[in-house]
């Protein structure tokens, strides 16, 4: 858990926001996050955020569910408590498929929701710092982390030049009790296709 210093720049237009993001990344500043009132297509691309491994996690959760269901039912009906049901074999695979499917979906969905909460640092009871309340209404809020290479006056004037309508400096708590999953930001490449 650490308190860091951020420069918060507010934009009122997507058309200004996207070039600004490009310039900020090109200048090498670290964007903490961009808060928008609605999902903006292509923003993750523009930010150069590495894709999360949520899909891979989902697959692993699903496979775990499949293995659990098949293994458990198989163990019960072949060795623990074999029963003759309608003259079917003791390991009737087709009859197990629906339950296996349900368990797969259950494991994958619950696991993915929890993983998603972890990746976004959300959980019931967690208080998140709001950088700007109008991010839920009509402003696009870009938050840049201050490091030793990026001091606040420099970043502030940089954002001003890039069309931010409101800029302020805030100190905020970034971590939570599970530790922080840092969103990795790719370095800006010149051949990158913008949206």
């Amino acid at each position: 858990m650490s308190v860091k210093k951020f420069v918060v720049g507010c934009f009122d237009d997507e058309k200004v926001l996207f070039p600004a993001i490009k310039n900020v990344r090109r200048a090498g500043y670290k964007i903490h996050d961009v808060y928008t009132p609605f999902p903006v297509h292509g923003l993750d691309h523009a930010l150069g955020i590495r894709e999360t491994s949520l899909h891979a996690a989902g697959f692993i959760f699903g496979i775990t569910g499949t293995a659990t269901a098949l293994g458990f039912m198989g163990w019960i009906f072949t060795s623990d408590w074999p029963m003759d049901i309608g003259g079917k074999p003791h390991f009737p695979l087709p009859a197990f498929i629906p339950i296996t499917f349900e368990t797969t979906v259950l494991f994958a969905s619950v696991g993915m929701v929890l993983t998603f909460c972890y990746l976004c640092q959300m959980m019931p009871g967690v208080k998140k710092h709001h950088f700007h309340l109008r991010a839920t209404d009509d402003l696009f809020v870009m938050v840049i982390e201050c490091t030793e290479k990026a001091n606040e006056t420099e970043v502030t004037s940089f954002l001003q030049n890039n069309g931010a309508i409101e800029i302020n400096v805030q100190e905020a708590e970034t971590g939570w009790w599970f530790g922080r999953y840092d969103k990795q930001q790719k370095l800006y490449r010149h051949e990158e296709v913008g949206y």
Binding site: H41, G42, E51, H55, F59, G86, G87, P94, I97, P98
Partner: protein, 416 residues
């Protein structure tokens, strides 16, 4: 890059070559397999001749007709993303008249030629003594079959032509303003919904019953039509993917991006799962209730625990390439955007569902004597050549991008 597709020499050579292979197989088949003999199942080769023709003509016809279904369903859903490659789907659906005619010739030859080895319900004396067939005689009789088939194919051709015509007319009319665009979309929706209703009443229900399920007239499955639909839909999407990738590799279709391919890949993935869902639902219910009149269908294919059936290998091979391969390979985002893997998967899925049709038709017709040789592979190659030729012909005649389509912008900026 211009907006017109010029058929490359290699494409032309391949399409004509494959058509010649198909025609040769047909001609050799006529002489070697004696299609006129043995309508009572005593000559396996004769049955085989018609069974292969039935399998291929219905499969490839339903496959190309899927493109028109895709156009209409996206039109009804007010979808814009597919407009960038809409001409490709139109080109594929322009094959429906030709393949429809071929299918009509094949099935009418079978029905009017009284091929009881293909359709047992054609045997009038047998129907008289068979209680089940007698009960179904109102539906399964040559007159109804003929009229329903002609009507079905005729309606597909008619509405499909209308849909393509509207699209081509939009090229000549110049840019549309808001009101004309609205009127044009409304007209599209009217015809599109008409097609969907017809499609539901044909591919969604009666057509597979008549053409394929009546091969085993004692047996029935309420899943059958949906199963056939899912099978042809996923392979139809694969066909669209193949042509889109081909054109993309030649530098055409400038507005089609990885995003469009990704969405087509999602369709391939989702409908492979949907097909498996129907496959399994049909299989499990019959396996579970274990009633002889229903299990006979699977015993003909897989056999029993003591005697493996002649189609056991194909039956499970079918499940592996149509379910296991797509779910494992197409699951990742990166593979749905990779041209090579998508091409491979599209070919695999088209082949897989062709095998699926093979195991739907053959066990009821040639029964214990399955063949997989020159004739079985020659005929489908001919159909592939025909489809390539027809698609190339349509694409070279019309602009590749419907530049006046009101939703074109939406397609260009499409983003998954």
């Amino acid at each position: 890059m211009n907006n017109h597709f010029v058929i490359p020499g290699g494409f032309k050579k391949w399409s004509v070559g494959l058509m010649i292979v198909g025609a040769l197989s047909l001609v050799i088949g006529i002489f070697a397999l004696h299609p006129g003999a043995g309508s009572h199942g005593d000559n396996v080769n004769s049955t085989r001749f018609w069974a292969v023709l039935l399998q291929n003509s219905t499969y490839w016809l339903l496959l190309v007709n899927t493109s028109m279904f895709f156009i209409c369903i996206t039109t009804l859903a007010m979808g814009g993303w597919q407009v960038a490659f809409r001409r490709v789907t139109e080109a594929i659906s322009s094959l429906v008249p030709i393949l429809g005619l071929l299918t009509l010739i094949v099935i009418l030859c079978i029905v009017l030629g009284n091929r009881t080895d293909i359709y047992p319900w054609l045997d009038k004396h047998h129907v008289e003594t068979d209680k089940i067939l007698k009960g179904k005689a109102g539906f399964l009789n040559p007159t109804f079959y003929t009229i329903a088939s002609i009507l079905t194919i005729g309606l597909w051709v008619f509405i499909g032509r209308k849909m393509r015509q509207m699209s081509i007319e939009s090229d000549e009319r110049g840019a549309m303003d808001y009101e004309t665009g609205k009127g044009w979309i409304k007209k599209n929706i009217t015809w599109g919904s008409f097609f969907i209703v017809v499609f539901g009443l044909t591919v969604g229900s009666t057509t597979p019953w008549l053409w394929l399920m009546s091969i085993d007239p004692h047996w029935f499955s309420t899943m059958y039509s949906w199963y056939t639909f899912a099978s042809t839909f996923v392979s139809g999407i694969s066909l669209i993917v193949l042509f889109v990738i081909y054109l993309k590799n030649r530098g055409e279709l400038e507005y089609v991006t990885d995003e469009h391919l990704h969405d087509l890949g999602k369709f391939m993935f989702a409908f492979s799962i949907f097909w498996t869902y129907l496959w399994f639902s049909q299989y499990m219910l019959i396996w579970y209730s274990n009633q002889p009149e229903e299990t006979i269908y699977f015993i003909q294919r897989i056999g029993t625990a003591e005697h493996a059936g002649p189609y056991k290998g194909i039956f499970f091979f079918n499940l592996i390439i149509n379910f296991v391969a797509p779910i494992l390979i197409l699951m990742k985002k990166a593979t749905k955007r990779n041209y090579t893997i998508m091409t491979f998967m599209a070919v695999l899925i088209i082949f897989g569902h062709w095998v699926d049709f093979y195991q739907m038709v053959m066990p009821g017709t040639v029964k214990g004597n399955p063949h997989m040789s020159w004739y079985e592979f020659g005929i489908p190659l001919g159909f592939v050549g025909l489809i390539m030729w027809g698609v190339g012909r349509y694409l070279s005649k019309h602009p590749l991008t419907p530049k006046n389509h009101p939703f074109l912008k939406e397609s260009i900026i499409h983003h998954t």
